[in-house]
């Protein structure tokens, strides 16, 4: 047995590429067919004149890109996508940073508080958005009721939250934040457990105050995990169309339209597959950038 030991180890450690390939190829083949091929088809559509219901298909070069770049709704959607994503990430990082610090120490009822805080992330996003649509209703909004109760507005003169461009944009950002804060909080909590407790404690003993400990010790050490939260948060906001579609459907007057919701309105509802596909391709540069940043992070972790 003692002699067989090393030999067995080498059998077990031996890789079997053939068996391996047989075991992973069904999954890889499926992903190529359902993600790779449609992506290629999207690129192909973007350079064609494909429409729902028409059979002919012609190559039109950059025509789709030229016409969407000239369309005001596209420029609005591009701007909104960036504004929504950036604003939401800033608010989310600040709020979930504070919340993760508050949740770190054990206290009574922590499990229940955690469940309540996580609800927006773990419940289906379309259903949470419907809840907000009712909260932001033009007549029966609870926010309006509170503002009237506080005598900030007179009855029936309060703004329509989803009916005025700037308020509608703020509402969409708010709902994105509401949904993402729980996710970022848990990611940051996971990251904070990796920070050795002795360092902030030593800093406190040395007389560093809360803010100094936060900015000079906690934040720098949390930076990698904040990056993770922001990268995923950016993807979830930038590529999302559910929140916008349910709250405002892009309105009023395209003021809350984003790239995904405009692609849906053009490509599916408007039957213009080619233009819709071209619009959605504008998501790709951001996705590639994020994938690159994630790879760099994974590589660094592998090396260290």
């Amino acid at each position: 047995m003692a002699i067989a030991g090393p030999k067995i180890r080498s059998i077990g450690a031996a890789q079997s590429p053939l068996l391996g390939a047989a075991m992973f190829s069904p999954a890889v083949l499926y992903l190529v067919l359902v993600i790779g091929a449609p992506f290629a088809l999207a690129v192909f559509y973007a350079f064609s004149d494909a429409r729902i219901g028409s059979t002919g298909l012609h190559f039109v070069g950059l025509e789709n890109f030229r016409s969407i770049l000239q369309s005001p709704s596209f420029r609005m959607a591009l701007k909104n996508s960036v504004v929504f994503t950036v604003c939401a990430q800033i608010i989310v990082v600040v709020c979930s940073g504070a919340l993760s610090i508050a949740l770190e120490k054990p206290f009574r009822g922590r499990g229940l508080v955690r469940f309540l805080i996580l609800l927006p992330w773990v419940a289906p996003v379309s259903l949470g958005s419907i809840g907000w649509k009712w909260i932001l209703d033009s007549i029966y909004s609870v926010i309006t009721w509170v503002l009237i109760w506080l005598h900030i507005y007179k009855p029936y003169s309060a703004p329509m939250w989803l009916g005025e461009p700037h308020l509608a944009m703020a509402s969409v950002i708010l709902v994105h934040c509401w949904r993402l804060i729980p996710f970022s909080t848990v990611v940051m909590l996971a990251g904070r457990t990796a920070i050795p407790k002795e360092i902030p404690e030593a800093a406190a003993i040395d007389g560093a105050g809360f803010w100094r400990t936060l900015f000079q010790i906690n934040l720098p050490m949390m930076l990698p995990i904040i990056n993770v939260a922001v990268l995923f948060g950016t993807i979830f906001t930038f590529t999302d169309m559910t929140v916008v579609y349910i709250l405002t459907a892009g309105g009023p007057f395209d003021s809350t339209q984003t790239l995904p919701s405009l692609a849906f309105a053009t490509g599916i509802q408007g039957s213009d597959l080619a233009a819709g596909a071209a619009i959605s391709l504008f998501l790709v540069p951001v996705l590639v950038l994020i994938a690159y940043l994630m790879l760099r992070m994974a590589h660094r972790a592998e090396v260290v």
Binding site: A22, P124, L127, W134, P224, G267
Partner: protein, 282 residues
Amino acid sequence: MMRTGLRKSSARIAHGTVLIVFTVLLAFPFYWMLIATFKQNLDLYTVENNPFILNAKPTLDHLRLLFNETRYVRWLGNTALVGVIVVSITLLLAIPAAYALTRLTGRWGQRLGIGIFLTYLVPPTLLFIPLSRVVALLGLQDTIWSVVLVYPSFTIPFSIWLLMAFFKSIPRELEDAAMVDGLTRFGAFVKMVIPISTSGILTVVIFTFTLVTQEFVYALTFISPESQQMVGVGIPIFLVRGDVYFWSSLMAACLIASLPIAFLYNLFLDRFIAGFTVGAIK
């Protein structure tokens, strides 16, 4: 001495305030659904009434309407059915793939694993236009089979990623021992590795199921008849009749569908988050 005492109590107040404010803000919409569910219409639609409380006796009418006069139960059933099928497909494809990439293919298996994880970043909003044509060509449009075909595309990559982390933590000696006992490599995988991986597999089951219930874009694009809907699309699209919103039934529908999903997801959340944070935490 007094200063540190002051500092301590102000820290405690700040701590409590942050927790209370965020808990209230984040959970509020669900309280709002709950109270709307039991409000009488006259109470709900009287703007002068205090909206935070029930001003009249609670009513079950809205729940009755939801369960008797809408397709809500059918949508829940469709979603559960799709969930079960997609979970099966995901397990069938992801478990062997994850094992192969962790154990059998060496360093480039790891690389391929990262590549597969990156496909999880490709959003439905990039693929729904071409996929809508593919689904139509296959004759799957307007049936739940359209989403059964497509949903594994986002459940498999993340499941492989989660399972790879899990398989890595299994000591190789266990497989070695099984192979000494006369099992083949594949036999060791089936008879040894899978049984001790139940908790990892269960995580994938819950994760996949909750992702299926949360999806919106594909279901909205591929399926139009009311009876074939998934719950996440059926509620926001079909419970609205013309311009009339049955707000109470709508809120009840959201709450009832959300809570079990939220509860399940919550139990396994830390494991999913571990999947997101690989690379940043060692």
